[in-house]
């Protein structure tokens, strides 16, 4: 197992290097530069050239890339033009907030999605199945940002149960309850679509397993229905559910961008959108590389989990 994990980790290195090249090239190729963005109306060629020189952007592209890469390997991600602070501080702080949001949404969608799928499958064509299938269809169809805005309007503006936006209150203590209070709406809005997808796939995975011989054997042995479903069938179905969860983790992470904008969550998605609009090159590059690295590691974890459940996968 250790060898397998090591091999997967090594194979991630070229992937990450490739990502650094791609994100660097994209930022170099898109029209507009940070100096123009900073100067706005005052972006005369002369002012732009002077500011680019001050920002160190007048060097050839290739040398810019290698300076950036070698600085990064030494742990220096540079300083953001637009925020005037070290990229790594900003990214870590923001990523932390995104992890809280996306992590909660992921846990919600995993638990409720799998549960809904299992219940659906166990009661195929029964009322529970029909209700869940309908709810799932609804959940998949609502864009998360729209759902978020409607939740704000209803629960925050009209009922005033939850705060409209932000992660922490302006005043007061920072307790876990206050965090949950701020987290509830964005996490639910973000989890809804993913829950629907997980529920659908869990349902079909379960139905497939429930038709297999070993289930019939278990029932014949006299295992009670609950044991059959949750212990025997679900464990077997998990092999095909886990990769879906892995994909949903990516989905939740990218879907967080909209939710972070709507709920003003100080996460990395909103940071990247702002940074791209301001052509804050180093912040975009640093942020993307960091998120990509996390995603790669997460995928390795999913593969490892899968191979633990199903030894045949190990190669």
């Amino acid at each position: 197992m250790t060898g397998y994990i090591l091999k997967r980790l090594l194979s991630a290195i070229p992937v990450l290097l490739g990502i650094t090249v791609i994100v660097f090239l994209i930022m170099a190729l898109i029209p507009g530069d940070p100096a123009t963005a900073i100067l706005g109306s005052y972006a005369t060629p002369e002012n732009v050239a002077r500011l680019n020189r001050d920002l160190g952007l007048d060097k050839p592209l290739v040398s810019q890339y290698f300076i950036w890469l070698s600085n990064m390997l030494h742990g220096d991600f540079g300083t953001s033009f637009a925020l005037n602070r070290p990229v790594i501080d900003e990214v870590l702080e923001r990523f932390n907030a995104t992890l809280v949001l996306a992590g909660t949404a992921f846990v919600l969608c995993a638990i409720f999605g799998v549960m809904a799928g299992v219940i659906s499958a166990a009661n195929q064509y029964g009322w529970a199945d029909k209700t869940i299938t309908f709810a799932v269809l609804l959940g998949i169809s609502i864009p998360s940002f729209f759902l978020g805005m409607m939740m704000i309007l209803f629960f925050a503006v009209n009922l005033r149960w939850f705060p409209v936006s932000g992660m922490w209150p302006i005043y007061g203590d920072r307790t876990i309850w206050v965090l949950l209070h701020h987290l509830a709406m964005p996490a639910i809005a973000l989890a809804v679509v993913a829950t629907g997808v997980v529920a659908r796939l869990s349902r079909s995975a379960m139905l497939e397993v429930l038709r297999q011989d070993f289930i019939r054997t278990a029932r014949a042995k006299g295992v009670d229905e609950r044991g059959v479903i949750w212990r025997h069938a679900l464990k077997a179905a998990m092999v095909s559910i886990i990769p879906v969860l892995g994909i949903q983790a990516g989905f939740v992470l990218s879907g967080a961008v909209y939710i972070e904008i709507v709920f003003q969550w100080p996460g990395v998605g909103r940071m990247l959108v702002d940074a791209i609009l301001k052509r804050d090159i180093l912040l975009v590059q640093g942020g993307v590389v960091f998120v990509a690295a996390c995603y790669v590691i997460f995928n390795i974890a999913v593969d490892v989990a899968q191979s633990l459940l199903d030894p045949r996968i190990k190669t």
Partner: protein, 525 residues
């Protein structure tokens, strides 16, 4: 079936527990404390170093933490004394000598004096200044006319310019001219932008990234202590979320209210403010080639576009129809005898026919957003429809803001016939000088992207720039406006009225034509 039962019961229990948990903290956030004003900002500030920033959003904080040598008189764009109590200008307009206010201290306790002023300008302008590396200073060119700054005595400072430059005083009133504490710059270096120290009515207290900038009252302020105890600036980038926060009581004051959201704030719980500012939204016409090279076609475009409909329907009344190149907010320099081109499609058709430009094909650059651009796509579409109606065939090309600037600023030649543009300036000199002179064509480093050229206009603008007498400048600007109005190098569309909403507890608030947010006299009950 038993399965579903267990789950449903479990769900209900979990739901009840959650509701209980949230219910217990609900009371804690409903109202913001009295004496503390919470302002909804449109973005996270870049830095709180006035020399290093360019965004109006950042200026809103800075103007409350720092003072300049001069400032705009309340409700106008005319300068009055601030940290300088008075000044003299030499006969030839190249020497400005300021007498400084006695007894003023920076928030860090150090004295404000002539050396501090010299430090501020040398930091920005001299490459070999020991703290020049605390930049870059993108707007330092506002003071590029300054040759030398010297302290004549501890309370007198003299600026020597390399040529007469009339906008110098109003540039000093702009945030780039705000005075920072030299001691704080020396202590914090490049981190000064996060540890600001000025002389203003509020002093910096705390900056929580992406959450809030907090400033507290400066009880020793030379102009009297402010009425508020503290101000919290919260960045809320999404306009809908900002509106929702205002409705839910999470903020007390919001700026740049989207036009469509204004109707939410009718009634006694809120107050709506409006103030026209030094803003102009216009179309650059390519006067070098194509149909707009003919003045009659440019005038036809001005007649064909229904500006009333644009400001009332697209912008919901948040702007006025523009008459010429100078916004009315510059009251002293504005020619109020000018009236906007009326909406007259028949006249437009007649002019087009006369010029032989009927059915001309035009390429129109539209942006998706950008500072001061209001609602550029909807406005662009309305303009396209109006021009189609008089028989011009308009093809829109839409670009993201930075890309758009990259296309338009180098000039429209060979690419497009017209482009949207908007400017907010602090002096009536800035926009025409940078965008209407022959010497401001893009290849000479200016913003005259439509290649307008009229020797008379050049002459007037050059003369206005070196005249130090305001009445004389005003006459020159008024003559310029008349010629430009008739030459129609642009379609003059709208002057934006900045708006803001406060809750009813907020008192003594007013918007300034400068678009700065001045909170010294504001109170909150």
């Amino acid at each position: 079936m038993s399965l579903a039962h267990v789950t449903r019961r479990g769900l209900m229990t979990a739901g009840a527990a959650l509701a209980f948990a949230f219910g217990s903290v609900t009371g804690a956030f409903a109202q913001t404390p009295p004496g503390v004003l919470i302002v909804g900002q449109i973005a996270e500030p870049k830095a709180l170093d006035p020399a290093a920033v360019t965004a109006v959003n950042d200026f809103r904080i800075l103007m409350n933490v720092y003072d300049g040598l001069v400032r705009y008189k309340q409700g106008t764009l005319e300068v009055e004394p601030a940290l300088a109590t008075d000044w003299t200008i030499s006969e030839d307009g190249t020497e400005y000598t300021f007498k400084l206010r006695e007894g003023v201290k920076f928030h860090d306790g150090t004295d404000f004096n002539a050396d501090a002023v010299v430090f501020n300008f040398e930091r920005m302008l001299k490459d070999d200044h020991p703290f020049h590396n605390t930049g870059p200073f993108p707007l330092a060119f506002f003071f590029s006319a300054v040759d030398k700054v010297e302290a004549l005595d501890p309370m007198t400072v003299k600026f020597t310019l390399n040529a007469p430059y009339a906008p110098f005083l109003s540039n000093l009133a702009y945030p780039t001219g705000l005075i920072v504490s030299p001691a704080a710059v020396e202590t914090f270096g490049t981190d000064f932008g996060r540890n600001p120290s000025g002389t203003g009515p509020f002093k910096f207290a705390e900056w929580r990234s992406n959450e809030a900038v907090v400033v507290e009252a400066n009880p020793d302020y030379w102009g009297g202590a402010p009425a508020l105890n503290a101000v919290v600036f919260r960045p809320i980038t999404d306009a809908n979320t900002r509106t929702a926060e205002m409705l839910a009581g999470g903020i007390d004051l919001m700026v740049e209210v989207p036009p469509v959201a204004l109707s939410e704030f009718q009634g006694d719980a809120y107050r709506i403010y409006e103030q026209a500012g030094p803003h102009l939204w216009f179309l650059i016409l390519n006067a070098k080639e194509g149909p707009f090279a003919d003045k009659r076609v440019r005038q036809a475009a001005n007649y064909a576009i229904n500006k009333e409909a644009i400001v009332n329907d697209v912008l919901e009344g948040t702007a006025d129809v523009a008459a010429g190149p100078t916004p009315p907010a510059f009251a002293w320099a504005y020619d109020d005898t000018l009236s906007p081109y009326p909406y007259d499609p028949d006249k437009a058709r007649a002019l087009l026919k006369e010029a032989g430009a009927e059915g001309a094909k035009l390429t129109f650059y539209v942006t998706e957003g950008g500072s001061g651009m209001l609602d550029p796509i909807a406005m662009g579409t309305a303009i396209q429809a109006d021009l189609q109606a008089v028989g011009l065939e308009v093809k829109i090309e839409t670009y993201e803001w930075n890309t758009f600037l990259g296309q338009v600023n180098p000039g429209l030649e060979g690419k497009a016939d017209m482009a949207e543009m908007a400017w907010m300036t602090n002096d009536p000199d800035t926009l025409p000088f940078l965008a209407l002179r022959t010497d401001a064509w893009p290849d000479k480093g200016g913003f005259n992207s439509g290649y307008y050229s009229n020797p008379k206009v050049d002459e007037l603008l050059e003369a206005a720039r070196v005249a130090t007498d305001q009445a004389e400048r005003a006459t020159l600007y008024k003559q310029m406006q008349e010629i430009v109005h008739d030459d129609a190098p642009w379609v003059f569309v709208a002057n934006w009225k900045q708006n803001a909403v406060t809750s009813a507890q907020v008192e003594n608030f007013r918007l300034e034509p400068s678009f700065f947010l001045l909170l010294k006299d504001v109170a909150k009950n």
